[in-house]
C-alpha cells in the first residue's frame, strides 16, 4: 500500500502533517505519539525577531470550535534554529517551517534566513497576517499584495514553498491562482476564519485582541469547500486543513482534492491524534481496497 505523497518537491511517507501553531515546535508532543509516524511536522509560525504576541485572554471556546488570538508569539528564527532544530533533526520526519513578516522585506529576509538551514525541508508562508505597509490588511486578501509578497519570497528560497491561504476572501480560487502564478510550489488551506465572541456579563469582547481566528470542527465544511474549489483552479498540490478530528475527516479533504492534510485544533483535544490519523488513513485504504493514496485525491470531483 502506498501512502507516500509529494508536496511541491517534498517527499512525505504519508499525507499527515500538523497545522502550524497547534503543535508547538514538535517536542511538546513527543511523549504523546511517535513523531516518526507523521508525514511532516509544521512548527509554530516564526518571524525574524521573536514576537511577544497578544495579551490574554487568548483563547475562547465556541460551538464545536475555538477562537485564538495568540498574536503569532514565537521565539524568532535564531532561537528556533539553535534550540529547536537539534531535536527535530533526530527525527526521520521532514520539518516544514511556517513563517511570516509584517512587510514584504521581512518576509523575504525570513525566507532567505531559513533557506539552507539543515533540518528544514520546506517553508510554509502564512499570508493571513497583517501588512504594516497597507494599513494592517492581511497580505492574503488582496491579489496584488499576495503576488508581490509571494514573488519576493520565491526569489529568496530554493526550498519547496507552500503558500498558506486565508479563507477570509471573496474568491479563494482567484487567490490560489495568484499564489501559484507567483511561484508557490504548493498551497495550504485554510487558515482560521476571523471571528469574535462577547461576554454578555462584562459586555466586552472575550479576547483581549477583540477578534480571533476560528478553528476546529465548526469550520470543516468551509474548508472542504475551499479545497474543492481550489483543486479545480490550480495545478499545484494542496494541503487541506480545517477541523480535521479523525481519519475520516482527513480522507474527506483528500477526496476534495488535497494531496496532504494538516491536523490542527484536534491536537489539543487528543495529543496523540495526528499519529492515529496517519494509521487510520491506512486502515481506511485497507478496508476499501485502495492500493495508493493518490487514487483518492480529488475523488469527489468524479461525479
Amino acid at each position: 500500500m502506498n501512502l507516500e505523497v509529494s508536496i511541491g518537491g517534498l517527499k512525505m511517507k504519508n499525507p499527515v502533517m500538523t497545522a502550524s501553531g497547534t503543535f508547538g515546535y514538535g517536542e511538546e508532543y513527543e511523549e504523546f505519539l511517535d513523531l516518526n509516524l507523521l508525514g511532516a511536522i509544521v512548527v509554530k509560525g516564526l518571524s525574524l525577531q521573536p514576537k511577544e504576541g497578544n495579551p490574554p485572554p487568548r483563547v475562547v471556546e465556541t460551538a464545536a470550535g475555538m477562537l485564538n488570538a495568540i498574536g503569532l508569539q514565537n521565539i524568532g528564527i535564531e532561537r528556533f534554529v539553535s534550540e529547536k532544530i537539534p531535536f527535530l533533526r533526530t527525527l526521520n520526519t521532514p520539518v516544514i517551517v511556517n513563517f511570516f513578516g509584517d512587510s514584504v522585506d521581512e518576509y523575504s529576509e525570513a525566507a532567505s534566513r531559513l533557506d539552507g538551514v539543515e533540518g528544514i525541508h520546506a517553508l510554509e508562508m502564512n499570508i493571513s497576517c497583517p501588512n504594516k505597509q497597507a494599513g494592517w490588511a492581511a497580505f492574503g486578501t488582496d491579489p496584488k499584495v499576495t503576488c508581490e509578497v509571494v514573488s519576493a519570497v520565491r526569489k529568496r528560497t530554493t526550498l519547496p514553498l507552500i503558500v498558506k491561504l486565508s479563507p477570509n476572501v471573496t474568491d479563494i480560487a482567484l487567490m490560489a491562482r495568484v499564489a501559484e502564478d507567483s511561484g508557490a510550489d504548493a498551497l495550504s488551506l485554510i487558515n482560521t476564519l476571523t471571528g469574535m465572541a462577547i461576554d454578555i456579563r462584562t459586555r466586552s469582547p472575550k479576547l483581549a485582541n477583540i477578534r480571533g481566528g476560528l478553528s476546529g470542527p465548526a469550520i470543516k465544511p468551509v474548508a472542504v469547500r475551499m479545497v474543492y474549489d481550489v483543486f479545480k483552479a490550480v495545478k499545484v498540490p494542496l494541503v487541506g486543513m480545517g477541523g480535521i478530528m479523525n481519519a475520516d475527516d482527513a480522507v474527506e479533504f483528500i477526496m476534495a482534492g488535497a494531496s496532504a492534510v494538516a491536523v490542527g485544533t484536534a491536537n489539543f483535544i487528543n495529543p496523540s491524534v495526528a499519529g492515529e490519523i496517519a494509521l487510520g488513513i491506512a486502515a481506511f485504504m485497507e478496508r476499501e481496497g485502495i492500493g495508493d493514496i493518490r487514487l483518492l485525491k480529488g475523488a469527489a470531483h468524479a461525479v
Binding site: K44, P56, A64, N68, I70, A218, F268, I269, P271
Partner: protein, 269 residues
Amino acid sequence: MSRAFRAEIRENLPLNRNHKLLTLAPLDPMSEPQPGQFYMVEVHEGFDPLLKRAFSLFRRTPQGMQLMYRLQGRGTAILGNMRPGSVINMLGPLGRGYPLPAAGETPIIIAGGIGIASVFSLIETVPARAHVIYGARTRDDLFMLNELKEISKGLSVCTDDGTDGQQANVLQMLDQVLGAHPQELADAVVYACGPRPMLRALSVMTKAKDIKAYLSLEEHMACGIGACLGCVVRAKDTGTAAEDKDRQGTYQRVCKEGPVFDADGIVWE
C-alpha cells in the same frame, strides 16, 4: 510514559448545590502527580463542548485520584451528570506544582473558595506543619474542614457572610496569623489559590512584607501541554530572566511554567 490516559469514574459525589467531588480510577499507567499540578479532562460526546477542562489534583487516593469541582458552565454541567462506570480521557499531571517548603520554613497555605482543590494535597504533603487559611462566601461552600484540621498545624476559617469562622477575607486572616506568630514571619512561605483579585492583593501584601509567596493562576486553556500558547500570563521566569528587560516579564504559559508562579514575578495587567 505519556500523560494521556483514560480513567473510570468511581464516584461523582455532590458536596453542595454546586460543588462535586469526582473519584477516578486510571485505566492506563499514570505518572505520580505533585501538589498544585492539574489535569485536562474531556467533557464531551460530540464536538461541543470541544476543549478539555482544567482541574487541579485534589488528592490522591489508594484507588486513584480525586478532583473537586464547581459547577461553572457547560463543561462542568456535563461532568456533573456523568455516572460511575463512565470512562473519560484525561491528560496529566500537567504543569509545575508548588515548590515544597524547605525544612526550616513555615508554610502558610491559603485557599479562596474552590482554590482548596489546588492546595489540599500540598497541605497533606506537609502534615501538621501548615497554617491553613480557608475562606469562602458562606458556610456551605467550605469543604473538608475536619480533614483540614487534622492535617494542618492550624486552620483559620473565614466567610464573607460570617456563617462560619470569622466574617473576614483571607488577607485579613493572613494579617492575623502573621501577627499571632511573629517569630515565624521571617521563615514564612505563602501558598495560595483562589480568585484573581484575592491573589493579586496577596501578591501586593506579601511583597510589602517581603514574604515569599507562590500563587496558582488560571487562564483559559486549549492544549494544557504548552503547545498552543493560549494560556499566558505576564511573569518573570527565572529561566528567561535575561530577556526580562525593565522587569516587564514575558508571557509565561500557565500550563507549563505555571500554574504556580512566584508572586514576585507576576506582572498583573
